[in-house]
């Protein structure tokens, strides 16, 4: 994964800075609390939520268990429907393929639908280096792109910006990229949306190449699915002559019927809606008589660390993720630290388990991410595919602190413990900033643990310390490393660390 933000400080430092940025915290708090309440309501409407969640988990597990078979089946179906399938082992290869495909059309600009996968591989930068301009068309992505910023939330990448800031960015930057913002633009959301509509429309109408991701790929039919709100996705999927979709290999579901689970759980978990405004599905290309949408369709399947993640017995469940972002919205650490502190396109709890697996734990930021949590379990509670994020966090902490077997680029390796116990230091530093407001952490933890049934687990190490009701963490009487060894990573002997309360 090439997506480490260059010069990114490790999580505790970045988070410490973010915690002291009061505008950011205000923006985030407002946003996450709003959506949290709405989601709970949308989920409550469904009496069979538990069954849907279980089915979602099982479908994904079954698919991952037979991923080779389903990948081959998908390739056949897409090809039979008139598409072309490409395979990319890593980010560089994916970028090379897309660049080549765009160049082959003779075009020098593309319109893009928001896609985590293309952010992960740094596609826009790779295209720019070849003089191809990629225009982000999702409103939030546009705000991020014009603001020369980085996304901070999976679903609402500009969640860290308030309306005043967005107005300023539009007024200042739109003219650089195309149609300028209207004179006298105010900060009303309706006016800002209108400015974006006008600015982007000229780009849509002339675009010849669209680039997208996909929420799901159906193996038996070769159908791709994009779930969205604004209609920019529909623009990119239907107006251009060529469509290039870049999708992670884990996005497969076996059959058309499986969509009945995810099209119920995804919108409610992400935007708290019964259904998002637009969902598009397409299967290859249409014949020349129907001529509906792009006449050329390329699917680029990317690995980029996913098979390494799949090789990890505990960690592979992260590949079930459908990127709904519910776990971000309930996370007390995310709320305080903000998305940027995670140093990756995948922020929040899912980022804390996905990035260190996709990229490995060699860098300081990736080694510190498994500690970016109070292990309160709220993320697991809301996850529509029941990913036990705390379990994976603990597993990855162990890997960082103790080293052990892992897979890198398909090869089995044995990792050494992090040098000088950097992880332990990182954890303690993390504890220090998180404790500046311990009340919320504690409440979140209690609420969550009351409803948790699986994995009776006491909180190891700093997770425990983070819930202490004081402004500075207790310095454990027993060093973290010794405690970790003694209790086998908190699994035995009650996992209770001496010296903490």
């Amino acid at each position: 994964m090439s997506g480490t933000f260059v010069g990114m400080p490790a999580f505790p430092k970045a988070a410490h800075e973010a915690v002291h940025n009061t505008t950011l915290r205000g923006n985030l708090r407002h946003a996450t609390h709003t959506i949290r309440g709405k989601r709970a309501k949308a989920v409550m409407e469904m009496s069979d939520w538990a069954e849907l969640r279980d089915a979602g988990k099982r479908i994904k597990d079954h698919t991952l268990r037979h991923l080779d078979r389903y990948l081959v089946q998908l390739e056949e179906s897409v090809t039979a429907a008139g598409g072309t399938v490409h395979w990319a082992a890593d980010a560089d290869e994916a970028n090379r393929i897309v660049t080549y495909l765009v160049k082959a059309t003779g075009e020098s600009e593309v319109v893009k639908v928001k896609s985590m996968a293309t952010q992960e591989i740094g596609l826009n930068e790779a295209l720019e280096a070849e003089d191809i301009h990629a225009y982000e068309t999702d409103l939030a992505e546009l705000i991020v792109q014009l603001g020369k910023d980085r996304p901070s939330h999976i679903l609402v990448p500009a969640i860290h910006r308030n309306r005043g800031e967005i107005r300023d960015i539009f007024a200042r930057e739109m003219s650089e990229w195309g149609r300028p913002a209207p004179e006298g633009l105010t900060d009303s959301p309706a006016e800002l949306a209108e400015a974006a509509r006008l600015h982007l429309r000229e780009k849509f109408l002339r675009a010849k190449v669209g680039v997208s991701g996909a929420n799901f790929m159906v193996a038996d039919t070769g159908t791709l699915v994009v779930v969205e709100s604004e209609g920019n996705g529909r623009m990119c999927l239907t107006l251009p002559e060529t469509l290039i979709s870049v999708v992670g290999i884990e996005k497969i579901v076996p059959t058309w019927q499986d969509l009945e689970v995810f099209l119920q759980t995804l919108p409610r978990s992400s935007t708290a809606e019964r259904m998002n405004p637009y969902t598009s599905t397409w299967t290859g290309t249409t014949d020349s008589e129907t001529a509906d949408g792009p006449s050329t369709f390329h699917l680029v399947l990317i690995d980029n660390g996913r098979t390494d993640t799949l090789a990890d017995e505990v960690g592979r469940q992260a590949l079930r993720c459908i990127r709904c972002s519910a776990c971000l919205n309930v996370c007390p650490v995310y709320e305080r630290a903000g998305g940027h502190a995670y140093g990756s396109v995948y922020p929040g709890p899912i980022g804390a388990i996905l990035s260190p697996q996709l990229r490995g734990t060699a860098s300081e930021i990736d080694a510190s991410l498994p500690y970016a949590s109070s292990l309160c379990g709220a993320c697991y509670e809301v996850c529509p595919v029941a990913i036990d994020i705390p379990e994976v966090l603990v597993h990855l902490r162990e890997r960082v602190a103790q080293g052990g077997p892992a897979t890198e680029k398909g090869n089995k390796v044995v990792l050494k413990p992090a040098k000088g116990h950097a992880a332990e230091r990182a954890a303690m530093r993390a504890a220090r900033w998180a404790l500046s407001h311990p009340g919320a952490l504690r409440t979140g933890q209690r609420l969550a643990s009351r409803t948790r049934r699986l994995h009776p687990r006491t909180l190891p190490g700093p997770g425990k310390a983070w819930s202490a009701s004081r402004d500075l963490p207790a310095v454990p009487a027993e060093p973290f490393r010794d405690w970790w060894q003694r209790t086998n990573g908190g699994r035995t002997n009650g996992g209770k660390q001496e010296g903490t309360k």
């Binding site: 099982r58 990948l71 949306a193 290999i249 259904m275 405004p277 397409w282 129907t290």
Partner: protein
Amino acid sequence: MSSRELILGRVRRALADVQPDDTPYEQAVPRGYLREHGDLSVEETVELLAENLADYRAIVHRTDTAGLAGTIAGLLAAHGSSTVLVPPGLPQEWLAATETARVADRVESTPDELDQVDSVITACALAIAETGTIVLDGSPDQGRRRITLVPDHHICVVRVPDQVVSSVPQALERLDPTRPLTWISGPSATSDIELDRVEGVHGPRTLEVVLVAPSVD
């Protein structure tokens, strides 16, 4: 070795430790969830559709077959439309009461030309009551996907109760995955600015759904 072989090989090695599992797909996933929520009568299902459409800011109108042409003419007039896009298979009689100039859905039309048209009128493949969703599948009475995207005003006719299903599972059973599908739940919207919902970004900003019941005579 090609990247295809490389990736498939990595997948197989990654799964080497997993217990062999030959459970067929049909048995691997228990589907204990509901096919539909609640036990509604046909009328109640149509009522729920109307409610949920309106809840996401679609404008809902109800009429019968005899009143349909008049309703459509009224909507086009109220919107001040001088042109309307018409898919090739739209029943002629739906437009019998309006003078609004028809624009055909043609392969050759450029996006810019579509952008000049005031309204579009289509039928649909089906509608989902529980979610307030209409689904278009590109049949001759619905046209290409782009015609319901570029114009700013979309009128969609749903034949009730025949085209109404209760739930998402029932909808997927009836839809053909080989056709390009567009699921529409309310007009285009964004919550990207402080999670404040704003209707109308890139798709039609006004969505009017006409629920048409058979005339009783």
